[in-house]
């Protein structure tokens, strides 16, 4: 197979695999910029994927599935918000608890409801997101170079993928060009400044957490309704953590998040494509090593190559009025 063809295929699966990462990392961006750290992205995505799988199967409607995913994820976000904003609890403990609860309960509920070993039944075409074929994609397929780029790489993805990529500039715009964004960033840096300016710190942080829930919900729905055809047990497979790593790696900036997620998506695509492939000089690389690559890369990059990632200053600290 020629190199160009390989490139197109790798790039296409990079885009597909990056989609949930981008959505989840943006979700993390909104809550962490508001000063609420969220290690529970994984759990929220998993819960959303499960809800999407169940509801899409029962209703035979992909949109009902998506709605259910967002609802469940927002609810889980509100639990996290209640624990860490209202009750001023530890954000790490709350996030970990959500991950555990969801990992266990999706399997139990799935088994109780569908008796398929924790899966939800396979979805028909109506219950899944199809692919979007961009205009003239078929017509230009045979044009050299540009044709495959357009119809092979840009066209033919799920609508959620396009949404994820559009959300990157949209998030930037919301954070840096709107009143809500200005206040959200301020509350993550110095909630005292927000409070003295006459703005409610609590309500603002809740809104950040809700934004996170919505995006995580879409990410979860993508897994079970677009990438897969139904929910399978533990199907997030650490993507929430990778998204968190991407967020740190990207220094909490939307544009960097896009590149970080594409990089992690590419590593994933590379690992899948070259499983068991004998590389020249090195020979066969164990699949486990390939799968571990994103994590190893995160550690190496965070350790020395991207400089200091400075988190939002008030992140992780519950706001208490000074006396």
């Amino acid at each position: 197979m020629d190199v160009f063809q390989v490139f197109i295929e790798l790039a296409q699966s990079t885009v597909r695999l990056s989609t949930p990462l981008i959505l989840a990392a943006l979700a993390g961006l909104f809550t962490e910029r508001a000063g609420i750290f969220d290690i529970g992205l994984e759990g929220k995505m998993l819960g959303a994927a499960f809800a999407a799988g169940c509801v899409a199967y029962i209703s035979q409607s992909v949109y009902m599935g998506l709605l259910a995913a967002v609802l469940v994820s927002v609810l889980l976000s509100l639990v996290h918000g209640y624990a860490s904003i209202t009750q001023r609890g530890s954000q790490i403990v709350s996030g970990v608890a959500i991950n555990f609860v969801v990992a266990g309960s999706t399997v139990i509920l799935g088994e109780a409801w569908f008796r398929q070993g924790g899966r939800t039944p396979a979805l028909s075409a109506d219950g899944r997101f199809g692919t979007v074929t961009l205009p003239f994609a078929d017509a230009v397929r045979d044009v050299p170079v540009l044709g495959p780029l357009y119809s092979g790489l840009l066209s033919g993805h799920s609508p959620l993928t396009y949404l994820a990529f559009l959300m990157v500039p949209a998030s930037w715009w919301i954070l840096y060009r709107t009143r809500f964004g200005l206040r959200l960033r301020a509350v993550g840096e110095n909630p005292g400044a927000v409070d003295t300016a006459g703005i409610s710190v609590i309500w603002l942080r809740y809104r950040g957490v809700i934004c996170c829930g919505i995006l995580c919900g879409i990410a979860g729905a993508y897994l079970s309704l677009a990438a897969g055809a139904g929910f399978t047990k533990g199907m997030t497979a650490g993507k929430g953590y990778i998204a968190l790593a991407a967020l740190i790696f990207a220094k909490w900036r939307p544009k960097n998040i896009l590149f970080a997620c594409l990089l992690f998506g590419f590593l994933d695509a590379f690992a899948i494509r070259y499983q068991g492939y004998a590389f020249p000089l090195i020979g066969k690389v164990p699949v486990q090593l390939m799968q571990a690559l994103p994590y190893i890369l995160t550690v190496i990059l965070l350790a020395g190559f991207i400089g200091k990632a400075i988190p939002p200053k008030a992140g992780g600290v519950p706001y208490v009025k000074e006396r």
Partner: protein, 511 residues
């Protein structure tokens, strides 16, 4: 009598068992600078927080411009024309000046619409009050004096007619403080009302029209500034007569105890902080180092006490060299008779979460008398802490209380007791009375003089020029990392001020 801007009637507020404000009555006339003075913990900040809507009073009324209003949150205060500059600035450090000023007053959902307007309004305010600030500068890159200016602009941008400043000069250099006072004078001329919260008597005398004194949650007196004196205010604050002037006899300098030769310190970026500094301190004298904060005094103290590595130079303690350019070990220096009261007691001097008794032995915990084999001898430590509490009148007298719960003055006494009771040969003290109330200042000054009279060599660094002049037997002035002159303690403030500003020193060096 002109109109009242603020009238407080019977304000009462308790936090649990602490009665922070008791039946406070206060009248502030429009277009004046009104000082509120009191020791730490007298209830000044609580009262102002009630006025700004941070807390609600349990009882009492707030009358602004003749109207009785309820201030439930900062929004209501802003709407009533009240602006506040907090002691710890309420700024988002990685935002620009403009973003900070707009925060909470953006006018529309989309920022762009408001930005042009805000920029124009900011420019107008800057011009009107001579408060130049670059609107696109990022806060964390600005000096504190300018950051404070942004806070004032923030209040003016919200159309504040009443400006509350809570301990505004605590973080400022004397020059910045003077500038602030000029700004406040100008605000007054424009018809604004300024409420100045402070515990520094000099500021009150210098700038206010009227002054109200608080003590233990009560408003004990209001005076016209012109008709009162520092002595009277100090007595009202503390509730007893206070000696503001330190009485001390003639110094009897003996042998050289600490000798600093050609000391140079560069920081991690390679910037020279201390340059070629030399001096000797003899037993039985106090050498004061005067200077505007940030002219190398901190680095000098740190280098001598072994916390920071010097680039070159030598330091002799009791005639023996300290390895200041290598691995000087603070613990070793302590054993050799050097005691250090650091400038920043919160970050260097104390562990605020520890009990008082633990802080009272911090750094000396390896001493045989505090140990029982490998374990700490808790009984001995508590007994030792109790002795120090009695000797230094530390309140509350509870060695098991968390250190964070002591007032600034008492925290400082904990550090002083620890270092002075070691009976050192050389005592290095940085900012002995920063954030300390008047009553405690008197005590601390007396103790420092006593140390001198016992034949200790004392190195004193303070940004309070009055303190340097009152305590020192010789004064060295530092500017831009160099010692630019030595003066006797009877040198005038003007003369020292010129040296501190680097004006005289350059001439002297050139000649």
């Amino acid at each position: 009598m002109s109109e009242l801007a603020i009238e407080l009637k019977g304000i009462d507020k308790s936090f649990g068992l602490v009665h922070a404000n008791r039946n406070i009555n206060l009248k502030v006339r429009k277009g004046t600078i009104h000082g509120i003075i009191g020791e730490n913990g007298a209830g000044k900040s609580t009262l102002m927080s009630i006025l700004y809507g941070f807390y609600q009073a349990d009882r009492g009324d707030i009358v602004i411009d003749g109207k009785t209003i309820k201030i439930r949150d900062p929004n209501a205060a802003i709407a009533a024309g009240i602006g506040m500059v907090h002691q710890h600035f309420m700024l988002v450090e990685n935002f620009t000046v403009l973003e900070n000023i707009m925060l909470g007053a953006e006018e529309s959902q989309i920022l762009n619409a408001g930005i042009t307007k805000a920029r124009a309004e900011l420019k107008r305010l800057e011009k009107e009050y001579a408060l130049e600030v670059d609107p696109d500068a990022v806060i964390e890159e600005l000096p504190v004096g300018i950051q404070q200016r942004v806070e004032i602009l923030k209040a003016l941008y919200r159309k504040a007619d009443i400006l509350i400043l809570d301990e505004p000069t605590g973080v400022l250099t004397p020059a910045e403080a003077d500038h602030l006072f000029r700004i406040l004078g100008q605000l007054k001329d424009e018809g604004k009302t300024v409420l100045l919260i402070t515990h520094k008597l000099r500021e009150i005398m210098a700038i206010t029209d009227e002054v109200s004194v608080m003590r233990r949650g009560e408003m004990v007196a209001t005076r016209t500034t012109k008709e009162t004196s520092v002595e009277e205010l100090a007595e009202l604050m503390v509730g007893r007569r206070v000696l503001l002037r330190v009485e001390k006899g003639e110094a009897k300098p003996a042998d050289v105890k600490l000798s600093v030769k050609n000391l140079t310190v560069r920081d991690s970026r390679g910037v020279t902080m201390v340059e070629d500094v030399s001096f000797d301190i003899r037993a039985g004298e106090i050498v004061g180092i005067a200077g505007v904060a940030g002219n190398g005094q901190s680095e000098l103290l740190e280098a001598i006490s072994g916390i920071r590595r010097a680039t070159s130079g030598t330091v002799l303690l009791n005639g023996r060299e300290i390895d200041v350019t290598g691995n000087a070990d603070p613990a070793d220096l302590r054993r050799r008779g050097l005691a250090h009261v650091p400038e920043d007691r919160h970050h260097v001097g104390l562990v605020l979460k520890f009990e008082e008794s633990e802080n009272a032995i911090l750094g000396y915990h390896d001493d045989a008398k505090y140990r029982r084999g490998m374990l700490l001898d808790v009984d001995a430590i508590r007994a030792d802490a109790e002795a120090k509490i009695a000797a230094y009148d530390i309140r509350p007298p509870n060695p098991r209380l968390k250190t964070a719960n002591f007032s600034g003055g008492n925290q400082q006494k904990i550090v002083l007791a620890r270092e002075m009771e070691r009976n050192p040969d050389v005592l290095i003290i940085g900012q002995p009375t920063r954030g300390v109330d008047v009553g405690a200042i008197e005590f601390i000054h007396k103790r420092i003089i006593e140390m001198r009279d016992q034949g200790k060599a004392v190195l004193l660094v303070s940004v309070e020029l009055d303190e340097i002049r009152a305590l020192s037997d010789r004064i060295l002035v530092m500017f831009a990392g160099r010692v630019v002159g030595e003066r006797a303690p009877d040198a005038t403030e003007g003369e020292l001020g010129l040296l501190m500003a680097g004006v005289e020193g350059r001439k002297e060096a050139a000649e």
